[in-house]
């Protein structure tokens, strides 16, 4: 576990990337982010016909001089977005090679860095059955060191309760923001919390980390399986048949998550820990339109 220590090397590769947040519709402080809403920014976007009530200072007089048409200049409005990153730090995350937790930490660091690079107000929290600690990073890029130290300190332990955690966290926010949840989703009824966040009109980015041994269990024989979180035991003869049944159950579970996220307009990303995190961010997330 000691080997799994975060450093800032790969963050350099992220320098030119930005978090692409879609469909932001809430009013906020002017930030660096381009809003789809046309308005008071400085960067020219488009023209439209003058309508009664439009400010005269936005009329393009050059166009009028040339074509005798009243056209109003439109500018992209820049908004300020708060980014909340929630990392699952329960015992179940401590599996895989690298562990889902280490993978999650690296993702949290990357998203935080991307967010700070874009001058977004960023807050990092990690949770188990409730929020364990919150680190406000503000808009200061240097706070990334604080986050790095925190991430290197925390360990995966305890039970998960995504629903309660997200509900409490979302209701405690004074201003709406983007919610990035990094978890293995091995929590019963995780959906409610996410539904609540969506109800609060928060865009939710759900990053599902999954390790290789969860997809195809490599153990077999007469086993006693112990739940890493609850300590509950289960005797089972694990053979080809049972593994197949398990894989069917897993497929069903994943399909359920996918359909759930589509239904509630939640951005969903599933990643196996065997995919290098650099590849995930630089290739898959860019292709997926999460960052640009």
């Amino acid at each position: 576990m000691e080997k799994e220590k975060l450093d800032l090397e790969f963050l350099e590769k992220l320098e030119k990337l930005r978090l692409a947040v879609k469909r932001l519709r809430f009013r906020s402080h002017l930030g660096e982010r381009k809003s789809p809403k046309m308005g008071r920014g400085t960067e020219f976007s488009d023209y439209r016909s003058y309508q009664v009530g439009d400010e005269l200072r936005y009329l393009d007089w050059n166009i009028y001089a040339r074509f005798e048409k009243f056209l109003v200049k439109l500018f992209e409005e820049e908004e300020d977005v708060e980014v909340h990153i929630l990392l699952d730090a329960s015992s179940s995350m401590d599996f895989g090679n690298p562990t889902k937790f280490f993978y999650g930490k690296k993702l949290a660091l990357a998203f935080s860095y991307l967010s700070l690079s874009s001058w977004e107000k960023t807050t990092f929290s990690y949770f188990q059955d409730k929020i364990k600690e919150t680190l406000p990073l503000e808009r200061k890029k240097e706070n990334i060191y604080r986050l790095l130290n925190l991430l290197n300190e925390i360990k995966a332990e305890g039970n998960t309760n995504i629903t309660e955690t997200v509900k409490k966290y979302a209701s405690s926010l004074k201003r709406k923001g983007i919610l990035i949840i990094i978890s293995d989703l091995l929590s019963s009824e995780f959906e409610e919390g996410i539904i609540y966040a969506r109800y609060k009109k928060m865009p939710v980015y759900l990053i599902h980390t999954i390790c290789e041994e969860e997809i195809s269990p490599f153990f077999s024989g007469n086993l006693t399986l112990i739940d890493s979180e609850t300590g509950e035991k289960m005797d089972i003869l694990l053979d080809e048949y049972m593994i197949q049944k398990y894989q069917k159950a897993l497929e069903k579970f994943l399909n359920h998550i996918e359909s759930f996220t589509m239904l509630y307009n939640v951005e969903y990303l599933r990643s196996i820990t065997s995919i290098p995190i650099e590849d995930l961010i630089l290739k898959y997330l860019r292709v997926g339109g999460w960052i640009k």
Partner: protein, 561 residues
Amino acid sequence: MSLKFLNPLFLSLLSLEILVIILYLIKPKRLRLKVPSLILWEKVLKEEPIGRWFKKLPKNLILLLQILTLLFIILYLSKPILSFERILGRPTIFILDSSASMTSEDIFPSRFERAKIEIINLSKNIHNKISLIIAKDKPYLLTSAGKNSDLERILSSEKPFLGEGNINSAITYAENLFPKESCDIHIFTDGTEELNIPKNSQNNYFIHVIGKKGRNLGIIDGRVFQKNERISQIFLKIGNFSDKSEEVPITVKESGKNIIKTRAYLQPKEIKTLTFEMPLLKGKIEASLDIKDDLSEDNTAYFYIPDFSPKILMVSMGNPFLEKALRSIPDTKVEIKRDIMNIEFKNYDFFIFDGLIPYFQFPGKFLFIGGYPGIDPNKIEKIGKVKILSWEDHPILRFVQLYGIQIDNAYIFKDEKLRPIIYSTRGPVGYYLKEDNMEGIILSFDLLSTSWIYRDSFPLFIYNLLKYMLSYDPQKQVQENLNFTGFYENPEDKKIYAINLFSQKESTIEPQITSQEVILAKKRPKEKAYVNLDLSYIFLFFALIAIIFEMFLYMGGRIYT
């Protein structure tokens, strides 16, 4: 009863049971494996319904099964034999009289049905091998060395034979069924037939007479004759088999219409022959005694008088004598052809080929004159001018006087399948042929070259020939394949037959013998024997069951499909 082991040394292996327990106690525990969450595994087990009850089973059930498996295997190897002494049971043979008299209803529902019930009841107490013989006109073995449970099923479908039975042939059959063993033979009969039980038999006989003195009047014989061209005669032999004198109404019907209604008075045990004369009868005739007695099968007699109107095809270049002889027979239809082309064989009952012989064989009745189909030229010998000397005593030649008839030009056919019936001075000149579906007479000479055609014997010969070939006896007795009385049309030849019981023996329904035991084999000592029951395979079976169940448990209560 004792239990012994053929390989007792293997019993010492029972000490291995302790080893199994020790191994169970020291066996490594299940491998414990930490997994992120059991959420998905629980879903998997929920889909396996068998897993629920499996969880409720005692945890050390596998140990118990292992102990049992080892125990059963050791017992199998030690070959346990359970031996007990018992008296050897005799095989039992049931003989059921199935003659017409067994249908008598002096006992409800009938003698036959009562006998079946008594056999089933008796067989319930017999646990040795059981055989069942049904005594009809011949004995029929329905089950041999079977179980008592089979009897009821076999007997339920058995119906009585409506003809004359032969129970003594069934006894002979039973005697030879198990020649090396002493059997108990139970005869269920109505006692109308004397039983011939062999005196030196090794078997014990138990005779169960089913029946009592019943009331019966029956027709025990009958015939319809043609007295002359206008009058028919009916003979009826009727009997009173009761102890009282009876007056019985008699009805005779022709094709369903009453033609005679009369009464007859009979003393007890009297047998009387009645004769009726009436205009010429044809078709189906029924004579019945209009009474209700215990045996109804013998109350009606059936007769059938076939209509004789044959269709004859004569193929000839011209023979007026033959033609005249044919046309003189009443109701005969004769068709004459001058060649053998386009003959519809199915349209005729009889064929005469005079000089014109077909080259192929065909089914039917025939008279060939001068040759026959398939004749081998190498087997013909010309004998020239001869005289007829003698002839066989055959129905076709009845009243036919052939002696001295001159034949100008005759041949001898040296064919083995031909049977000579008319002989000349130099050899046979008339033959009888019967093979497969062909039957007829072959004359090896030309009729017009003889003096026979001028004699009375020639039309007589033709008449006899047609009568012999085309008439049949329509009266039949009840048989195994014709187990009923009445009229029957044979699907093969389309001829109608009248089937009757006509048996004085069966009509006499009063039992002639009583129930008795004839113990012939009682001096034989009861044979004792040790019965050894090999239990090893039972234990092997148990061991396999235990192993399968153990595997089932080990697999977590799942069955692979």
